[in-house]
Symmetry: C3
Subunit: 352 residues, 3 copies
């Protein structure tokens, strides 16, 4: 971070309501209360860290309006409505300076095919490829080495980071952010086993991504066999996730890293899927369900389900079974004891 803010600037960016104390330092970094050094901005985001405020070496501390305490020497308390939100304001400002918007236009090294539509407000960075009949939205930024296939559409105000691929005919909504290396529109994995060989089932559908979607680095989304693979508005997908063909992910879902969703499964709105979980194909995961990390889902889930384990069970049951599982060595001994005590003459005895 190569950004410097004065106390005045933080006060203004954070929409602060009052201040206490004084510092001559400028802010050059952000750190947790216990890790902060002079020159850092810190914040009390969670009441449980209150005792840390008195000990922090941060030059500025964002605290809630009702916080009571004395700043140290050369330390300024900045009172705000919600310190986490206030910090996000500061971070958003820093983000802009870290990644300043380049000037609009097409870099001379980019390859834009005749027939592609690129508005004057778009930023097409170095070594991008845009095939024929693709359409790029207003103010959209293809950072570098991005590929947009034939007839694909990218909405307004998108940011596609280096090395992303949006294959032919796929559609992105507005304000979509793709981290580096995302692949949208690879072929679905469909074959028919005919005469001892796997014959390819052509995958001629597309992928349609809603507005305000973010997709993590090197994540892959397959195009549909026909029709569409869909990701709904506001959904956030982490790194190295696999979304199979004809999957429908609803609106405002969270899909954590390394999740795999097999073909034709429907994930309804507001679902949260923990890292490395796997969903079999042709399932429906009901609205607002939660799937714990590493779970294996092989059955439909009712709305509001909370599941864990492989194959997944209701969360509390799985937790309980995991506790009992650890007691299996003991249980086998207890059954041994019962048998030997009461003479399990004709019952099959096989001590563990």
């Amino acid at each position: 971070m190569q950004v410097v803010f004065s106390a005045e600037e933080i006060f203004s960016i954070a929409k602060a309501v009052r201040r206490q104390g004084e510092t001559t330092d400028t802010v050059r970094g952000i750190a947790a209360l216990t890790a902060a050094a002079p020159g850092d901005l810190s914040f009390l985001g969670n009441p449980k860290y209150k005792p840390d405020v008195a000990k922090t070496r941060a030059s500025l501390v964002l605290v809630p309006i009702d916080y009571v305490g004395e700043p140290q020497a050369n330390q300024l308390f900045v009172f705000v409505e919600n310190p986490s939100v206030a910090l996000a304001y500061v971070c958003a400002r820093i983000e802009q300076s870290l990644w300043p918007r380049p000037t609009a236009g097409v870099h001379p090294s980019a390859c834009v095919a005749p027939g592609a539509v690129v508005p004057a407000s778009a930023i097409i960075g170095p070594l991008c490829v845009i095939e024929a009949d693709a359409r790029i939205g207003e103010h959209t930024h293809l950072q570098a080495q991005v590929f947009i296939g034939r007839g694909a559409t990218v909405g307004d105000d998108c940011w596609l980071m280096p090395g992303c691929t949006v294959a032919a005919e796929c559609v992105l909504g507005d304000r979509v952010r793709l981290q580096p290396g995302v692949v949208i529109g690879s072929d679905g994995f469909g074959y028919e086993f005919v005469n001892g060989r796997h014959e390819k089932v052509p995958q001629i559908g597309s992928v349609v991504i809603g507005n305000d979607v973010e997709i993590g680095a090197n994540t892959t989304l397959d195009r549909a066999r026909f029709s569409r693979t869909v990701v709904g508005d506001g959904t956030k997908i982490d790194n190295l996730v696999q979304i199979g063909h004809n999957v429908v992910v609803g609106r405002h879902c969270m899909v954590c890293a390394q999740v795999g969703i097999a073909g034709s499964t429907v994930v309804e709105d507001f679902v949260i899927i923990g890292g490395q979980a796997g969903l079999a194909g042709h399932l429906t995961v009901g609205r607002s369900s939660k799937i714990d990390g590493q779970s294996g889902v092989n059955t439909d889930l009712a709305p509001g389900s909370f599941v864990k384990g492989t194959p997944c069970l209701p969360y509390q049951l799985e937790q309980r079974i995991n506790v009992l599982r650890r007691k299996l060595p003991d249980l086998f001994k207890r059954v041994d004891a019962l048998e030997s005590h009461f003479g399990a003459a004709d019952s099959e005895k096989s001590s563990a």
Copy 2:
């Protein structure tokens, strides 16, 4: 999909034997029976969906020769030998128009090193890099931003999608299709722990891919320590799969998304590996085995095995154990009851 077919064209492409009914619509999309709207082509691929035919709004429906029923108004039944296969014919035709073959030649933005062999029939798209002594086959298509390393060989009629890397000395057969972002020939993960450090074991082997192989987006295949990592003819590998160094995958296998196969493991012909399964190193998985999704294989498997779970067990046994596992809370209560009933005086009692 921006393709339009007349009923006549569908009749011809699908190799239809007769027709029933009449429609003035053209075909502009393909959809399942229940999802279809006027202008769509649909199909009866599975007898269990027979009742849906009478209700579908599709303009054209591919039905089997022995299907008995009446089309609706402005609806045409097209009778074919096998509706799924007939649909594949139509899809293959659409695929060609979605992804028309570009004109042969080397795009001026591509970097082809002196000494690389590129036949006149090959299509080298924008911003590809071909290093010295690499050889590209006849009619092979490197779509865009593809990297072919020093001395690598790509066979005839291949299609390498954007952002693929084929590193030095690796070899692809004919008709290989790589989805975007595939990496072939990254270093194997080999180190010796010497004097408190992991020292690299040079990885100087290669990767050899057979004919008719497809590899999914962002999948990685490591080069051998020495000798070769191998993928046999006709094998299909899905997205985000990891194939370790010196692995041998046989012919006509299916490897689903996010599978990992550790170094030196041999997977024989016709094996199917479900998504997210992991195979330890130095194993042999016998011909025609099936490994269920998310399984962990840490032992050799005899030919024709069907396994599930971590560590994997025979499929039926694992299924049965999963049923019993859910009854553990009950089992602990039953043992508690036995103990208290018969006085488990000197047996260790620890109720769950």
Copy 3:
């Protein structure tokens, strides 16, 4: 491998101490004892393969100094201190010839922004992008299609293979090797759920990679929310690994393929993590711990831990429980028998 060595050259490269036998063959390949053919170099790296030496068809065999045996006709035994290390010397030599160092300089197709620092000793390959204020170290090699973001720093003697992305402000140490498709500095996965939507928490920290780190193909490392995501000196990370924001991985760790480490977790020095394991966020994994493949770690681990399973348990306990788990069908029968034998009148009986 297109390399030829004479017996003399092998003798010298392997730092051999004496020889026995004679061959007129040159070395054109390396193979295991049982797989070797004339023209191959083989080696006795593990005493258990001693019987294979007498049967190998290799032209040259690296054997330990105390090996006793007779070479076959046209076969040379080369006695060395440690055959595995001697082989590594040979492989390192081959590696150099497979991947000869290109001439220093910037390829004319690369896009280097004004203000980027590129020393004359660096090799900037075709179609690389270096943004403003980035700094490249001495003798560092960006192979092709690599992206270095604004203000990022790459140390000396690094090798970044095709398609790698090092995003803005991230820092690599010296002698770092990135396999193809690595993404360093994607946004951390951080959102606040506000008014029914996931609002992005800006990710303005960076990633700092130490010296002598290797990172596998298509692996992703997220930048910190603020401060840094860290990978310590000498750590080796395999393919398709996900490292979340604010994670700290210590020095000389091994992280196998497809591992996921969630945000803010600290992995201390010398930890080994098996393939496909998942670590929840905000944990500490103590120094020299070992985590078995596919494990799920959801709790802090003391230094020197060795764990397995999901949720993970001490390795030996998990192994024992896995054995007992297979006996569950038997255990249920035994409890059935006890109940029917002694009349479990008022105990709830539910046979499996």
